[in-house]
């Protein structure tokens, strides 16, 4: 065994290769043994303490309080002071403890020997790893050869540090777009003229018409939205009513009072159909529109011409009476609100914001407001950039991956492998054995969330400005590095101009810089409990800022202790202000939606006879897009309550299933013109007979011990292409 390089699989099984004499696994085991000693040895168990941290499994950045026994985390709870999580965590947040303990985490820096993707590794020292990356960066010559740096989208000084380093290295810095309000921003801004992302006051709405928004799943900011939903249903006022428009029976559809199965590409048509009825029956909010209607007249004309209830009914399959009823319910509600999935396409976003305008939902309780903080400056989408690479349109000499999020969003990272052949170096900073590690030449694992400093702007969903700030809750378990410190080392090793660009030594410098900036703002306060937050809000409403500390040092300590800083003062009315500052609303033309919907009809497709079903691919809310892909507690929850743990499942109507003699729970084969996958059949009453919904449960064949057990790799369905909504399939028994 020792003279023969191990296969990738062996590496995964034993956590190491033997090329250099010592195995990565052995190294890791020694380190783990030390960590376990630290955890269990000598001192006995029993000294309980709590540490503040931030959940990094999604952009919501919920505050965490980790329960430590003798310094080892045993359980994560929500940070009760965090205004976003208010002491709660979602399933991903709870399970993120498994990221820290992931037994298949990368244990230290390593270099790929042999062919890329083969998985033959040689552990190297951090110095060697830093020198290697630095020399390649020097070779790339400050941008003369293209460099691509990819990270999951986030805002905050640490993300800026990453961007600053790579920009100085001449790289194109791209981000995996998160499904947050930032995606909704452009449409909202076009309609209203504000320069901020929209906020939805779900909690106080009385009637919510949801166009595919995963309201109870992970919409915009998971925990926050769920709490809002709970209060929307059972708050102090009357029970809110929810209508879900979505092709599959998601958890939101199950919880909704009414579920209308409408394919995503037809939802804009339905929205305009409802707009038609509102305008025609004069059920719009006249007071609002008369004042700020803008080009409503032109919009009205176009809607009237194209979206008669009959047209809409035939395009969407929703009966005319239902369209009429939905419009009347929406208009008749005390505080109606239309919400939409963050990854919806632009026509649907435009339609939904138009609906909100028609019912005057802006700047009122249970409506749409604008976020206190401005939109992030031009965030370039990583998926597009990586597709360019996969298609051979660009050849970066260095590809730097902060995490595996972008690859997970890609149809098939394997396509990328070929396209990356001319690339000198693929370097992954992810601490996990994930899709990034699978294609990397150099592994430079950074700390996991509990081991890290945090200074992140949570995704905007809440009517406050916040920065989630925390220091490491625990000692690093393995030989991983602080990301900012690592970049600095590389910069120093690479020399100018990189070294000058990195004005920090490590993440704590960056975080302390942020704390000083916040102190200088002279507003806001450390995360505080609800009562105190309300008190501060009232003060600031009166123009007061009560310094929460006597010195900037004390302030910094208080913020880090509390887990973040928030300025909860929120002035509503900015949408109306913006509208008043220009000639009112500027509606997008509703023209194209109908044509698009028509094209979705299976009969309109090529090969419809052979592939008669529309594929509605969806990502289960439980699967994180940035953390460890190796969390067994989450794999168990897949497909619940329908009992399809650990596997991909497909939802289809009983009629469709009967037509191919498939029973509930049976394995089926889904065939597209480009590929085939197997899944467990879940039969759903009222599911449209022309649609099959498939859970995108990504397999990580080279991943950790649990991740690699997930079968099958649903992305195979798309072959070399992209798993888009336009894929047509057929279903057979497996």
């Amino acid at each position: 065994m020792s003279d023969q390089p191990l296969s990738r699989r062996d590496f995964l099984l034993f956590g190491g290769a033997t090329l250099a004499g010592i195995t990565l696994g052995e190294l890791g085991r020694r380190q783990l043994a030390r960590a376990d000693e630290r955890a269990a040895g000598g001192r006995g168990r029993g000294l309980e303490s709590w540490a503040t941290s931030v959940c990094r499994e999604c952009p919501a950045a919920c505050g965490i309080r980790a329960r430590l026994m003798d310094g080892v985390p045993v359980k994560l709870e929500g940070n009760p002071l965090c205004p976003i999580s208010r002491g709660r965590l979602c399933a991903k947040g709870q399970a993120s403890l498994e990221s820290y303990f992931d037994p298949d985490r990368l244990r230290g820096p390593a270099r790929c020997v042999g062919k890329r993707g083969e998985g033959k590794w040689e552990p190297i020292t951090w110095d060697a790893a830093v020198a290697l990356l630095a020399s390649r960066l020097r070779d790339a010559g400050g941008g003369r050869q293209p460099v691509l740096a990819v990270a999951a989208e986030e805002e905050g000084p640490l993300a800026e540090a990453w961007a600053r380093f790579w920009t100085a290295a001449g790289a194109r810095v791209v981000w995996t777009r998160a499904a947050t309000a930032a995606r909704l921003g452009p449409s909202f801004q076009a309609l209203t003229g504000v320069s901020a992302d929209p906020l939805f006051d779900l909690e106080r709405a009385s009637y919510v018409l949801s166009f595919g928004a995963p309201v109870v799943e992970d919409w915009l900011s998971g925990v926050w939205t769920q709490r809002s939903y709970g209060r929307f249903r059972r708050g102090s006022g009357a029970r809110g009513r929810l209508v879900q428009i979505e092709p599959r029976r998601s958890m939101t559809a199950r919880k909704a009072d009414e579920w209308l199965a409408v394919h995503s590409d037809r939802q804009a048509v339905l929205a305009y159909g409802i707009a038609y009825v509102l305008l025609r029956e004069n059920r719009v909010n006249r007071a609002f529109l008369d004042e700020l209607g803008g080009d409503l007249a032109a919009f009205e004309r176009e809607v009237a011409a194209n979206y008669t209830p009959d047209d809409v009914a035939s395009a969407t399959g929703v009966p005319v009476v239902t369209v009429l009823r939905l419009a009347r319910e929406l208009a008749g509600a005390a505080r109606p609100l239309a919400v939409v999935a963050a990854d919806a396409d632009r026509p649907l976003l435009d339609a939904v914001f138009a609906l909100n305008a028609l019912v005057g939902a802006f700047d009122r309780a249970g409506g749409v407001a604008c976020a206190p903080r401005g939109p992030a400056a031009d965030v370039e989408d990583a998926t597009a950039a990586l597709r360019d690479v996969a298609a051979g349109r660009t050849h970066p000499s260095i590809l730097a991956l902060r995490d595996a999020s972008a690859l997970r969003a890609l149809a098939s990272p394997r396509n990328l492998e070929g396209a990356l052949r001319p690339t000198d170096l693929v370097v992954s900073f992810s601490p996990f054995l994930d899709e990034a590690a699978a294609i990397a030449d150099l592994l430079m694992p950074t700390h996991t969330a509990l081991e890290s400093w945090h200074a992140t702007l949570p995704a905007q969903a809440v009517a406050l400005e916040a920065v989630a700030i925390a220091k490491p809750a625990v000692e690093p378990l393995l030989s991983t590095k602080d990301a900012a410190a690592l970049l600095k080392e590389v910069a120093v090793s690479a020399g100018e101009p990189l070294a000058r660009a990195c004005g920090w030594k490590a993440s704590d410098d960056v975080v302390h810089g942020e704390l000083e900036r916040l102190w200088a703002l002279r507003r806001g306060a450390p995360y505080a409990d609800l009562y105190e937050t309300e008190w501060v809000r009232q003060l600031e409403k009166g123009g007061w800022w009560v310094a929460p500390a006597t010195s900037s040092e004390a302030f910094a300590a208080a913020v880090v202790e509390a887990g973040g800083w928030a300025d909860s003062y929120f002035a509503p009315g900015r949408v109306r202000e913006a509208l008043g500052a220009r000639p009112g609303l500027r509606f997008a033309s509703p023209g194209v939606a109908l044509a698009k919907a028509a094209a979705v009809h299976p009969s309109a497709r090529v090969g419809a006879a052979e592939y008669p079903l529309l594929l509605a691919a969806f990502t289960p809310a439980l699967l994180n897009d940035r953390g460890s892909p190796n969390q067994p507690a989450l794999f168990e929850l897949l497909g619940q309550p329908d009992g399809a743990a650990w596997t991909a499942w497909a939802e289809l109507s009983p009629e469709t299933a009967r037509a191919v003699s498939v029973e509930a729970g049976a394995r089926i084969r889904i065939v597209s013109p480009r590929g085939t996958v197997e899944a467990v059949a879940v039969l759903v009453e009222k599911m449209p007979a022309d649609t099959v919904a498939l859970a995108l449960v990504p397999a990580v064949p080279g991943g950790g011990r649990w991740a690699r057990r997930i079968a099958p790799d649903v992305r195979r369905l798309a072959g070399e292409g992209v798993l888009g909504r336009d894929l047509m399939v057929r279903v057979t028994r497996a």
């Binding site: 045993v74 359980k75 399933a91 769920q226 209060r231 929850l637």
Partner: protein, 225 residues
């Protein structure tokens, strides 16, 4: 004497399963694998099930854990009293006494008891993730939701060392603590000042399969107006 009870507001519940993960970590419940899950050996003290419930057409999504029945069929049949109803209404398991006959698992109409088919195992790296307040069960015994009884002990201890009585909110099970939708509420059903008491008697309240006469202390609040 308190009578602990759990309210599950189905109208608030989002089916997010945060409670399920919280329970698993809090109580050192071992992970499954694709094989063990397919063999009916997925260990969980709490799971979502599709259930027909009052006031709803079509199956509701029900977080289902031990219902802590006041007339527990599982307790009646246990030959060794390894499962019993404690004075505060918590149906408890005495792991060292259990002979693993699985009579209780079969008698429980809610099918919420699980059996340790094999020695529970975690990768060595995860050994220190265990909650030291909860014993890891050996192979061959039955386990289930305990209402996070260890948290009651801790809360009592803390209250005692602070020189006061247990107050509402001191004792919060792991699932209740994390529930993002605030759908779970825990407290003393006997205490008129505890918010759970009026909810348990509200018009929306029902007990799952209450027609069996098991008198559960998990009270569901139905969806809808």
């Amino acid at each position: 004497m308190a009578r602990w009870g759990l309210i599950v507001d189905l109208d608030r519940c989002t089916g997010c399963q945060a409670c399920v993960v919280a329970c698993k970590h809090e109580n050192n419940v071992p992970f499954s694998t694709p094989e063990t899950a397919a063999e009916g050996r997925l260990m969980t003290w709490l799971q979502l099930v599709p259930a027909e419930v009052p006031g709803r057409a079509g199956a509701a999504v029900l977080p289902l854990m031990c219902q802590h029945c006041d007339r527990p069929p599982c307790v009646d049949v246990c030959p060794t009293s390894a499962t019993y109803l404690n004075p505060e209404g918590i149906v408890a398991q005495v792991y060292p006494r259990c002979i693993g006959c699985r009579y209780c698992t079969n008698a429980c109409p809610y099918a919420v008891k699980v059996f340790t088919w094999t020695k529970p195992e975690w990768p060595p790296a995860m050994a220190s993730m265990m909650n030291p307040d909860v014993s890891v069960r050996p192979k061959g015994v039955v386990e289930k939701c305990t209402f996070c009884h260890h948290r009651l002990m801790l809360a009592r201890e803390r209250a005692r060392s602070a020189g006061r009585d247990l107050a509402p909110g001191d004792y919060v099970p792991a699932c209740v603590q994390t529930c993002p939708a605030e759908a779970l509420l825990f407290g003393d059903l006997e205490d008129p000042h505890d918010p759970v008491a009026p909810l348990a008697g509200s018009a929306r309240a029902f007990r799952f399969m209450e027609e069996l006469g098991t008198r559960p202390k998990v009270v569901y609040l139905r969806e809808g107006e």
